[in-house]
């Protein structure tokens, strides 16, 4: 039985004060009891079922789960491409109704860059189309963020001349240049080779150290989740339901039960698979 540690009055007060500020700070993004459904030609598929989570400012919030847990669908919901059939999603207290430039997507696919525009024009296109900046100001902003991802030498290159990793860096620069309330990343590194992926993960963390942007990051890789996230939402599949929400410091440290975070997550996902084999759906 764990023994409750003794505290001095002051420490207890500090902790109480701490929790108070924690609850007082309102979440940037609040997802409450969200059920998302979409239609295929033959079925009505329930992708997620009554999912709750809150993202606070500067969070690196990771949604992790096996394929079929509706994590990408959830991100599209937050993006405003899909309306929940139940529950609500609020950004800064306002219900999300349609896509908007306050939530910018970074996709997995390389064709998210417009092939008829150069690197710089791609970033500027986002800034001018959304009406955030015009002309000279847009160009300056674009250059500033292209510099941040170390692609200034390629500012006037067309996307098809860049490698996969560079394309994703342009997409990230474009997303960050918009300075959105939350950056939505849908498995942005999944199509890259292992070495490039590793490098991009580190670069993303460096960028975060720099500007402390809020990011909602979807992945199916446990290691990526542990490395990138400060908070990890674990979804179980068919349909996606919240299984756990864990904290991570990026180091995959050994927890109180003597096991690594990644091992704990692995077991939770693995337990699901066994469960599913015993009681198969549909």
């Amino acid at each position: 039985m764990p023994q409750r540690p003794l505290r001095s009055g002051l420490a207890a007060r500090i902790e109480r004060w701490g929790t108070k500020t924690m609850t007082a700070a309102s979440p940037l993004l609040e997802v409450k009891g969200v059920t998302l459904q979409y239609k295929t030609k033959e079925h009505l598929v329930t992708a997620t079922y009554r999912v709750d989570f809150q993202v606070y400012k500067s969070d690196r919030f990771v949604i992790l789960g096996p394929s079929g847990c509706g994590k990408s669908t959830l991100l599209k919901g937050v993006g405003g491409y899909l309306q929940p059939s139940e529950g609500s999603m609020r950004l800064n207290g306002e219900v999300i109704k349609k896509p908007g430039s306050d939530r910018v997507f970074v996709f997995q696919e390389f064709d998210q860059l417009l092939p008829w525009k150069t690197v710089k024009q791609n970033v500027m296109f986002a800034l001018t189309s959304s009406g955030k900046f015009k002309g000279r100001a847009a160009e300056d902003k674009a250059i500033q963020y292209i510099e941040k991802v170390n692609l200034i030498k390629f500012a006037d290159s067309f996307p098809h001349t860049l490698s996969g990793g560079m394309k994703q860096r342009v997409a990230i620069a474009r997303g960050m240049a918009m300075e959105p309330d939350v950056l939505l990343m849908d498995e942005p590194f999944a199509a890259l080779d292992a070495l490039t992926r590793r490098k991009m993960q580190e670069e993303l963390l460096q960028l975060w150290d720099d500007t402390h942007f809020t990011v909602l990051f979807v992945t199916h890789s446990i290691l990526e989740a542990v490395l990138i996230g400060n908070r990890i939402l674990l979804l179980s599949p068919h349909p996606g339901r919240v299984k756990a929400e864990l904290n991570s410091d990026g180091k995959d440290n050994v927890g109180a039960d003597g096991r690594k975070l990644s091992d704990r997550i692995h077991d939770m996902l693995f337990a699901d698979q066994i469960e599913e084999r015993v009681t198969p759906h549909g």
Partner: protein, 289 residues
């Protein structure tokens, strides 16, 4: 146990020596370079064909059936110099551009309607299915009744030959724009006409360009054929009329010169105008190799 299955070998690590090997890059010989040039090879082929023509027509010796290559060239040169060919070509091209532009505009309107509503989509699919296989020249008798002898009828059949292939290709181009690109456009707040102009049209541009090329080829053929049928209307006919007129006067070398012009204009538009548009757009963007 694994020892029985796997063959055991010692490991090794090598130092890579520099400059121990021979030639890495060697320039090609001049002859190889010349023969690698497509234009040179095609030019040689043309020269061969011209020689065969010249030899055969000299042996045949019947300028009414098959004039010599040299006669055709000099007829072409004469008609070019006295301005008749230029004037006739310009007349044809003027009518063609009118029909082509009208066809493109209508195709744009029709596809815009098709992507914005479901009934528009059905309409486009039905109409293209019906009219695309219908040769434009088959509509000519009808056009003559409706619009009489003159440019009206020509423009009508030209529109018919441009509209359907362009609309069909543009529409299929719009449909094949990737979901990701569409989502990117909407993410940055594009909607309606701005979304079409900034995302759909450039993304579908390879298909649109193909449609424009096919439309142009159809239009050019249709025009020459239509002129052959009724170039008589006005004093100044087009190239088709030039060919027809010279056939009646048994100036066969001039007929060949007219055909020559049709080919040259066709090649110029295909290999110069469209080729340059391609190089400056879809190839530069890596959307077509």
């Amino acid at each position: 146990m694994a020892d029985n299955v796997l063959v055991q070998r010692p490991e090794f690590v090598r130092e890579i020596e520099i400059s121990a090997y021979g030639v890495v890059e060697k320039p090609l010989t001049t002859w190889e370079k010349i023969f690698n040039n497509t234009a040179v090879r095609k030019g040689l082929l043309l020269l061969m064909l011209a020689t065969i023509w010249q030899v055969y027509s000299t042996v045949l010796d019947n300028p009414l059936l098959f004039p010599k290559f040299s006669d055709t060239v000099s007829a072409f040169y004469d008609n070019l110099m006295n301005g008749v060919l230029l004037q006739r070509s310009w007349f044809s091209i003027k009518v063609l551009l009118m029909g082509y532009a009208a066809g493109l505009l209508l195709a744009g309107a029709l596809t815009s309607f098709a992507i914005s509503t479901r009934i528009g989509n059905d309409l486009l699919e039905t109409l293209t299915a019906m009219f695309n296989p219908l040769p434009a020249i088959a509509l000519l008798p009808l056009a003559l009744i409706w619009f009489g002898l003159g440019n009206g009828s020509l423009v009508f059949v030209l529109i018919h030959s441009v509209l359907w292939p362009v609309a069909l290709n543009t529409h299929s181009g719009f449909m094949s724009v990737s979901q990701t690109m569409r989502m990117v456009g909407r993410n940055y707040g594009l909607a309606g006409p701005r979304y079409v102009a900034k995302i759909l049209i450039p993304a579908a541009f390879p298909n649109i360009l193909t449609g424009m090329k096919i439309g142009w080829a159809f239009a050019w053929r249709t025009l020459i054929a239509a002129e052959l049928v009724f170039g008589v209307s006005s004093g100044s006919g087009g190239l088709g009329w030039f060919i027809y007129e010279n056939k009646n006067q048994l100036e066969i070398a001039n007929v060949f010169a007219g055909l020559f012009s049709v080919i040259i204009i066709g090649l110029f538009v295909e290999n110069f105008i469209f080729r340059n548009i391609e190089l400056k757009t879809v190839r530069k963007w890596g959307m077509q190799s």
